[in-house]
Symmetry: C2
Subunit: 210 residues, 2 copies
DNA sequence: AGTCATATGAACTCGCTGTCCATATAAAGG
DNA sequence: CCTTTATATGGACAGCGAGTTCATATGACT
């Protein structure tokens, strides 16, 4: 009788894990359905059937709660293909990333989280720790391997390469002056690998501008 | 007494231009002093000594008001050096951009505006129209000229080059996993122009991956 | 001067924030 | 099994901002 987990569970203390789980589930629901702005302490508490006070105890800001809810419930695969052909692997990776960012729900959610992060340090930290950080590290590791294989220049700052590629995609996501497409992803990789210069730098005589 | 333009100007209609000017000035003050979050209709109206109703009539959202205030009062120079040496010009431009983004006030303000824009379509449109759009067009024009001079590859999508360069800077501004420095700007330009590959593509025979 | 357009203050509803209680109950200890 | 302690709960609260409505005062135009 008393061990039944549900029927009239209303008032007093409930196990912390159970409460947290319910709150995160409710927050994720609101986040995916209505966007970041809908994730307020008030609405999450109401949707989860919990008390606002409980939420304030565990999460420093609504943004941090939204971030944790998203990262918890979206189990993204963090994998890089590594076939030994950097251009092919990178192209596949960037296409997948663009596909993720242009999905109906995912794109706006990620953009919204980054947006709120600009005025919510807690969310910013959570985003770096759970999302952008690991991905950056993974990309870097892939580049290290490619460089060890001799595919990349030795004098390159690989971190900058990450900004050139992922940053370009985020740029089109966050400041949508140009469309974010898979063709963009493909051309982006080529640009980054081959460079923009017309004169191939292999030539000893740099053609003078005349 | 009654013709004095200021002392007891309280009640009735005032010239639209004068009101708008005061509102924008107040909004810019709040924006620079306390950030985007401080630019609310309530506070701007109070600071400008105007009525909230007036603000609602002219600006669709607090974000749009903040954007207009910023663009109006920050008269940025929209110039590109064009000495005929693309690498030097671009390096100068990116250094200046990074310097702008890392200024005490400007950086957070721009980041905040982009952040709010993720959930404020009006602000997003204003940002594109007044800020990112013109800058993108200017950069593109510079690249066109460089390409006409033969400095850039003919098959290049120049718009992507813009994303690689400016997008990388915005990336470090908005998702601060790595520092945004002038050294970064310099290396970024080199990366974009020279490419990341170790094999110089100048060779007529493209080395097959085997 | 008279008329019209409109900026104004005040008041209002609503939602969200952040914090205060007293209470009910789960978990731990005897 | 009973007691104690920790804590989740509902309710209430003040404060702020969004967004609207109203009557009024006054600049601008005829």
């Amino acid at each position: 009788m008393t061990s039944q987990p549900s029927p009239r569970r209303g008032r007093g203390r409930r196990p912390a894990a159970e409460v947290r789980e319910g709150v995160l589930r409710a927050a994720a629901g609101l986040l995916l359905a209505e966007g970041v702005k809908a994730v307020t302490f008030d609405r999450v508490a109401a949707a989860a059937g919990s008390s606002k006070v409980t939420l304030y105890k565990w999460w420093p800001s609504a943004g941090a709660l939204a971030a944790e809810a998203y990262f918890t419930h979206s189990e993204q695969r963090l994998e890089f293909p590594d076939t030994g052909d950097l251009r092919a692997d990178l192209t596949a990776q960037m296409r997948a990333f663009v596909r993720l960012l242009t999905e109906d729900r995912t794109g706006p959610v990620i953009a919204g989280l980054i947006g709120v992060a600009q005025t919510d340090p807690e969310l910013s930290a959570a985003f770096s720790r759970h999302y952008s950080g690991p991905r950056r590290a993974l990309a870097l590791a892939t580049f290290e391997k490619a460089r060890a294989r001799g595919e990349l220049r030795d004098d390159l700052d690989l971190r900058i390469l990450v900004d050139q590629l992922w940053g370009a995609c985020y740029h089109r996501l966050l400041i949508p002056d140009e469309p974010l497409t898979e063709e963009f992803a493909v051309a982006l990789v080529d640009n980054a690998l081959d460079g923009a210069l017309a004169r191939r730098p292999g030539d000893p005589d740099e053609a003078p501008a005349a």
